[in-house]
């Protein structure tokens, strides 16, 4: 099976072996991963709660997203890099871990949700972000899905740690 071969190749690369065998490197990479996720979830929540009309109501959604989301992306990049390093160190086992698989699905869902929001709801944001106007249901749905997906990602990430042997 090609995927199995690819995974085995990945975990035999020098960098993957270094991460796997170095007692100090993996914990440090993992700690940076946790820190990055903390920033992703925290900043995304600020935006999602604004779209849901729960917080930051005095700031336009557009401005909030413009100011906050760069930090979300920066933190996500760090999370993706550290996550990839950890994954590569034991690729076959992570790939076969059920909770990790679902975590990837949740990540894809979060990304897809963000893309749909960007290409649909955000298109006419000037209309619904005006003072007095209400956030459309589609935007609120996107915010809800986002919060649930990221809570799931954190939960499944923690669960992966518990179920890796």
């Amino acid at each position: 099976m090609e995927i199995e071969q690819a995974l085995e190749w990945l975990q035999s690369t020098p960098i993957a072996i270094m991460v796997a065998e170095n007692d100090v490197l993996f914990p440090w990479i993992e700690s940076v991963h946790v820190l990055a996720i903390v920033i992703v979830v925290g900043t995304i929540s600020i935006v999602d709660l604004r779209l849901l009309g729960i917080a930051s109501l005095d700031i336009s959604a557009r401005r909030l997203m413009r100011d906050v989301i760069p930090y979300t992306w920066g933190a996500f990049a760090v999370a993706a890099i550290t996550g990839s390093l950890m994954f590569s160190s034991d690729a076959t086992h992570y790939a076969h871990n059920r909770l990790f698989q679902i975590k990837l699905v949740m990540l894809a869902l979060a990304g897809l949700n963000m893309a749909v929001f960007h290409f649909f709801s955000e298109r006419d944001i000037e209309r619904w972000d005006a003072p007095g106007a209400t956030t459309p249901m589609a935007a609120k749905a996107a915010a809800t899905i986002s919060l649930l997906a990221w809570i799931a990602v954190v939960s499944l990430g923690r669960g992966t740690g518990f179920t890796m042997h």
């Binding site: 914990p27 700690s31 903390v38 920033i39 925290g42 929540s45 809570i151």
Partner: protein
């Protein structure tokens, strides 16, 4: 009473035993703890970035403070509650753990720094603005960022010293 005796006593309580028996409690509580940290750390980061002057520099510090400070202090109660549950479930793994002890020390320092920011800004509304004491504000912000990051690191390292 030694630390060992305290840990043993906690471990033998009915509460501890029942949490230990129900395997789902600790992972669930850990997840809630991480989500709480996400709110606290991100809120502290937003305030610190404002003090440094890279985030919402055109908004008064008062506005940023009013928005994010409650999101530090209130979730800390949740973190305390989830933390107590985890300590109750695994007293030796936490209380005797050097990473945990370091984390608690760093946490006290972070709380002092957060309180210090509130105190300094109350005393001088220009604290954090270009007209106020820049060096002090930037230093405080950087120390805050380092402390909260270190707390998160120390939290993860508990597992490695267990």
């Amino acid at each position: 009473m030694t630390l060992n005796e305290i840990c043993h006593w906690i471990d033998q309580t009915a509460l501890s035993q029942s949490i230990q028996a129900a395997g789902w409690v600790v992972p669930t509580v850990q997840t809630i703890h991480i989500l709480g940290i996400a709110v606290v750390a991100s809120s502290a980061l937003m305030i610190d970035l404002r003090l440094i002057g890279v985030f919402w520099a055109n908004r008064p510090v008062e506005a940023v403070k009013a928005r994010f400070l409650p999101l530090i202090w209130w979730p800390l109660l949740l973190l305390l509650a989830t933390g107590i549950i985890m300590i109750t479930a695994e007293p030796a793994r936490s209380l005797k753990n050097p990473a945990f002890q370091l984390k608690m020390g760093l946490l006290i320092a972070a709380l002092i720094v957060t309180w210090l920011f509130q105190f300094l800004h109350r005393r001088n509304a220009a604290f954090g603005d270009v007209t106020g004491p820049r060096a002090a504000a930037v230093t405080l912000a950087i120390v805050s960022i380092l402390l909260w990051s270190s707390i998160i690191f120390a939290g993860r390292w508990i597992a490695y010293f267990a």
